[in-house]
Symmetry: C7
Subunit: 267 residues, 7 copies
């Protein structure tokens, strides 16, 4: 996206502008997000749906340990993309804010307020010296005053509210599916299906096992969708699962990619 000698002059200090008004360290942090697997968030009439892709680099890795979806509070959750260790810090930060809000005010934090706690913290890391930006993005979604709301927080610290969006790699193709198919009156199941189809638009070999799904509704709060229901939703979404051979190939790919994947903490 950028190149040449001019660029080198500006990207060494975390908090400097380039002559064209960009903060390169922030843009490079976005690249770290783009290197990660995508996470989709869909706001439906019934609640917020998160569908995250995370394929383990080895068959021995516990899939659930590649945590992309997290509960932040009873009615608020998050999906992450990018540098895993950075994302974990942000998620911990968000949880502490949610807990602190309950302690201080005796009530759960709002989705928008929680997003802004996070983005304020993220922005500080783009302006003060002695640190680098966070190389992770978060979707933060939940129920606020009975209404589902969905926000995205990027490495610059900008919060935006969305009907449906995606963070991480392959955003263009995925967002196109969301824009084409999203409507105001989606049911929760519709939202899960849309999230799966959107991710499948970018990955021909997507399988149910590559996905984690969570929902947040007024009635049930944050809810992790069990693996069998994800598989059923996968079928319902009309995605063709690659046959066994392809599956085996894919496992081989995972093996072959092992050393590379290890050197890469953006998942």
């Amino acid at each position: 996206m950028m190149g040449g000698n001019d660029q080198q002059a500006y990207d060494r200090g975390t908090s400097l502008f380039s002559p064209d008004g960009r903060i390169y360290q922030v843009e490079y942090a976005r690249e770290a997000v783009s290197r990660g697997a995508p996470s989709v968030g869909v706001r439906t009439a019934e609640g917020v749906v998160f569908v995250a892709m995370s394929r383990a680099s080895s068959t021995l890795m516990e899939a659930e340990s590649i945590e992309k979806l997290h509960k932040l509070d009873d009615h608020v959750g998050t999906a992450s993309a990018g540098h895993v260790a950075d994302a974990r810090q942000l998620i911990d930060f968000a949880r502490r804010q949610a807990q602190g809000n309950r302690l201080r005010y005796g009530e759960p934090v709002g989705v928008e307020a929680l997003t802004k706690y996070v983005t304020d913290h993220v922005q500080e890391n783009t302006q003060r010296g002695g640190t680098r930006p966070y190389g992770a993005a978060l979707l933060i979604g939940g129920i606020e005053n009975g209404e589902p709301r969905l926000f995205a927080a990027d490495p610059s610290g900008t919060p935006n509210e969305w009907k449906a969006t995606v963070i991480g790699g392959g955003r263009k193709a995925i967002q196109e599916v969301l824009e084409e198919e999203w409507s105001e009156d989606l049911s929760l199941d519709d939202g899960v299906g849309l999230g799966i189809r959107a991710l499948a638009a970018r990955d021909d070999e997507l399988e149910p096992g590559d996905l984690a799904v969570a929902t947040i509704t007024d009635a049930d709060g944050y809810h992790t969708v069990p693996e069998d229901e994800v598989a059923a939703a996968f079928d319902a979404a009309g995605i063709e699962v690659p046959d066994d051979d392809a599956d085996a190939d894919d496992a081989d790919d995972a093996d072959d990619a092992d050393d590379d994947a290890d050197a890469d903490d953006a998942e």
Copy 2:
């Protein structure tokens, strides 16, 4: 505006002068403002008007989340341009100052005083090490002692009072319209119309949906103008709305520009 090797020597340290007496980091921060969509402020006989342009990068983005207009206190508001995350920090800073003023002195802060709290803070970030300037500009307007007042705060930390002005991209063309059409006895509605016409001067395909409008009057304080009234004012301002085809094209443009816009936090 500047170029060559000489320049590189001075722009790496946030708080250094170049041989011709410029502080390049401040000038680059201004470039960050110029990359953003414009916001117009108009002082009228009845109060202050803000008209801000913000076109969402996706049809799924909640337009109101691209917050360009904000209430700071009962009779004071702000319009921003430039790096969104930076602008949010400045807006939060201004709000805390307004609240603090009420707590300390039992009365609302004046528009000029509030502007200077902000510009003092902005200036510090251009002189002390360990930080970068803010890549955002603010218009701060409201009612002070019954009179409407309008100020602009730029990335150097310079406050200026204006009858009508614009911050963000395309300033020259927009300011020309303001200078030609502004008069002391504008009504509030005149002010809204002038703001819309000024922004239209720079953008052939401007639509009511691209605009946010707010007014601050002695009687009603800070008031967000609802979308239908903006559309009506748009018609009244005599701006030709592009036809549906053009509209569709525009939506396509937004889609096409998706990846670029994501990489850009100046809105």
Copy 3:
């Protein structure tokens, strides 16, 4: 004044000497002052006169907001030149010192003492790391023990007492007029006239509207001269006002120079 590769080695650190014993950052800060519009101070038998030039970059900018003249205490005022945001910081600093002096000692601060508070603060910013020098100069004048006194404070932090002097752009031509025409027994009105003539020596198209004038006398303290009196003094000073066409041209110039002026905070 300086140039070449040698220079680059020394100007990156705020507080380093060059081999010839110069502190380049201080000299570059002086360049920032030279980029600004000039301010003249004249000590007369009756009091101190400040005449400052400040032409707004747009007809919609409130001229009084380009504050060049400020009251610091009952009998002390200041005129500034250079980087506007820096000058404002110094003026605030001077005001706080004046107030603090009253609180601590129960009496107004002397003109010389106040100047030295300011220059001590300015000098520190030329010696300690983590900051840059102030890109602004101040004239500080007033009545001390019944006598008018006038000081200049430059970006190195050097205080000097003057009978009459100028800070900002075009100093050489302006100072020559002051040296030729100043005498010990000038009346206050003579001083205003001399200040205007001196500024006119550098600017063929000077108009009363471009000027701000203030006086400090034992009897009346700090006094802002109203616009009509400035115009009268302008006539009395025998300056030929350019005709309307020229005036219109000048307004065009202001418009044409708009974008440039915006990028420049030295006014």
Copy 4:
């Protein structure tokens, strides 16, 4: 893996992103881990097994002083790889956290919680200035709520849960053996055998004396397997021990490699 001039620009500051979204200092820290001897962790039905390789650089070095396996708490242990002095700091940090947890909550720390204490600390060293990342990786394993669990913590601060994995040099070949042979119902002895075979896959001359083995079970907690049992397990694992001549050669190798090994603290 990387090269050229571009890279040099980014690797001098510990906490900066490169244009492609990588944090080179973290990747170089991973190289420090790859330079070390491998440590294997295997989760079995009965508990967690650690098998670590550490060949002394001299016959006079006390083998047990090249500590690769450590007890962290009654039912939690760790295996390390990479820069020895860094690993020791992390192990001490983990122990203090385990002790603190007992003091604060009156109960032992969970394996996952302890891992995350460590990875949070590791991540901070990749983001804050004034430090470098840790050049060491840890396997942390133990019994939590009666169940064996095994985690890996890498220099980026990313925690992952594993059924069986390896850290340190030669990972690809070793992990392949683990993936082929691991099954859910392994006994503790099976686990020891698998760990030995996996390490042998990378080193033709592996001997029992090069290995340290520890197990963590609900019944016995952290248990260091004595040397004779390691030798027996070695035989049971069907690894062919090189004959005496080869052994002597190997000792010579150790001698010859002496000076090099001394200059290398990744073991």
Copy 5:
């Protein structure tokens, strides 16, 4: 005195040695002193004499504001040379030490002790980071235990005691006169005359108005010699005053040199 590329490597950090054991920043600070007008100190049998040269850059500058001679305590004074703002800081520092000494010990500070307070402070600025050396030198003289004593403090922080010496520009020629003409039994008037002759040796157009003279004696303490007595001493010293034409020329020179002198704070 120095030159080439080697030098550049060492002078960027304030507190580093060059390979030949020099601290370049200290040597450059000495150059700042050499750029200033000279100040002479003469120890006589009756007391210490200071004769300082300071020619105002404009006829409108108050000569006494170019303060080169200062009272530090009842029987101690100082003459400065070099960067004016730095010298002022050192003089303030010395005054505070003198006052503090009276408060702590109830007696005036000795001349030698006061000099060492100053040089300790100056030395610190040559060794600690985050600052630059002082670009000024001081002569400190006075009466200690009834005896006149004279010290010089240079930018390295080295104190030396002198019978008579000079700091600032043109030292070699001036010191030669002092060495030829100084004797132990000089009267105070002899000392003033010697100081004037020494300065005249370097400047053909020296006039009484260019000089400031002060004496410190046991009987009268610090005493500023009035202008008429300086003129009389000037005549008595047998210096030929340039005629009026030359004087006018000199004034022209001052005018011509105006812009240059402004850019130079070493006076």
Copy 6:
């Protein structure tokens, strides 16, 4: 061992990794150790023996002031190699830890625990900014629970336990002798002899006067072996002392090497 431009990029910051996972400042600190004279430690059945080589650079230097062997506590001592001033800091640090341990716990510190206090401190200087690694290595030996133990601490902060080892220059040749001759049942005298023979293997002209010897036993604690006993042990070790002529030559060598040795603090 290393070279070229790549290297320069990594060795300027104390705590950065190179692309191959090395910390160059630590490796250069090891070079500082290699420049020093060697110190040997031998664990025997009766206690620990230290034999250190230190040849004075002048016949007038007091040999005992080139302190290489130090008592740390009643039953613990140390031998050092490398940068002398750094070694002294570490030795003082170790002594304070030993004293503190007695104060806190009422008992002497263990040899292993003391070594780890030291290596933790050494490691910190390889990871935190604002400092450099220690350019010294220590052998720490003594009696712990009645058993002799011997540890080495290198500039990376890695502790290792040894039966016998050497730090400082010429390690390879010396360690070979130790490996060939060391056995578990050495008497204390055997240990002294082995240490002397090992050092002689590297230096043809070794004389008793070049050696310092100390022993630590359970019965006698730390004991400095007197010079005559060292000479006797030297004879007993079968080392041929060079004749007088060679001795004189050696003294000349010391003289000739005077200036070089002065410039070198690794002894």
Copy 7:
């Protein structure tokens, strides 16, 4: 001693090692010592003798102000060489330590202990960032438990005990004389004579006036030898004083060298 590009990479940061294990800033600080005039210390049977050379750069400089010999406590003194301002700081530090020791323990500090206070402080300045090493060396000598002892402290912070030694310029030639002539049973007068002869070996034109001499004995403590006794000892030492003409030449030399000497604070 060193040269080329490699070197430049390592000498900019005060506390970094070069690839060959040197700390260049320390070695450059030694160069600063070598640029200074030499100071000799001689331990005799009766006490310690200091003979320091210091030729004033002008006949008007008070020779005693070029203080090279200083009393630190009743029975301890010091001789310095190198950067004068740095030496003064070290001497003040040593004095404060001596006073503190008396306050804390009620007894005078030992010569060795005092030396180590100083060298610890010196070493810190070679390891911590934000400062440079001291460019000065000290000889510290005195009576400890009735015995004369003599130590040298160099810029690395290494203490060494000596029978007789020299610090500063021309060490090789001077140390040779000391080594040839020193014996255990020297009287105090012998020691003074040896010191003078040693210094004369390097300077053909040495005169009594160039020397300062002090002795420390158990009976008399620190004693400054008066000028006439120095002259007598000079004669007794058999040094030929250059005739008057040479003397005059020498004075001329001092004059000629004036400007150079001023630029040099190593005396």
